[in-house]
Symmetry: C2
Subunit: 147 residues, 2 copies
């Protein structure tokens, strides 16, 4: 039997979070954190509602996952996030020593890869999973904003 | 009359926060945020107590200051922090568009300047205010830890 727990499978859950952000009039970015194929944290961008630049989806997911685990290091965890993390979120992921980061769309302007933010040596990165879906959602959000 | 509101004046308040962190068995880093010579946020590192890598003094101060202001941009605000911010905190400060960052001791290993994290173009930086006091506190903390 084929393994149903693919990166696409979990990224769809992150996209559902991004859609929830969209409905709340937030830039639609969603994240989940998974350990042993189990979702232990789910979150979406809340910077507007909370009036807080630190309320990115990833930051909330890191806090929630650490709370679930009962420790601050996210060993054996994978973050799925619809948009490439920024400097802040990549910096937080560095401290968390997370095992794997899977992101959807690249952020050519503010993404950590262009900005040169360092991840922990233990962290591996997978790019471009359901990137079109993530980008379409963000484009649709800004198109509605311009109306 | 001399202006009492110098960078040293406010950094002493950040150092008091660092001492509170020390008493809680946290790596002693403290921060305050000031607007119009008024302290609107004070915080210290709580990563151990909260089991959360995102609970750096600066992150908490940014959230608290935005809450006080009622908006997420820290225009006309100055952050005083006893230790040079890391990638995560510098990344958060980038988003906040804070006017000025004053830090005490440099962090040669994990500080944002060595790591190359970008601040917002509107942000100015002052380095080395009461740096010895900040460093002494951190050295004393780790010396006690090794006992």
């Amino acid at each position: 039997m084929e393994n149903p727990f693919t990166d696409e499978y979990f990224m769809k859950k992150a996209l559902q979070e991004a859609e929830t952000a969209f409905e709340k009039d937030e830039i639609p970015v969603g994240a989940i954190i998974v350990i042993d194929n189990k979702v232990i944290a789910r979150s979406h961008n809340l910077t507007e509602l909370l009036n807080d630049v630190t309320a990115h989806a990833e930051m909330q997911a890191i806090t929630a996952a650490a709370n679930f685990i009962g420790g601050k290091y996210l060993k054996d965890c994978t973050l799925y996030v619809t948009l490439e993390p920024c400097q802040m979120c990549a910096g937080a992921l560095y401290w968390s020593q997370i095992s794997k980061i899977v992101f959807g769309a690249s952020d050519e302007n503010r993404g950590f890869e262009k900005m040169g933010t360092q991840l922990h040596p233990k962290t591996t990165v997978v790019r471009g999973i359901l990137a079109n879906e993530a980008t379409d959602l963000i484009k649709r959000f800004f198109a509605e904003k311009r109306k």
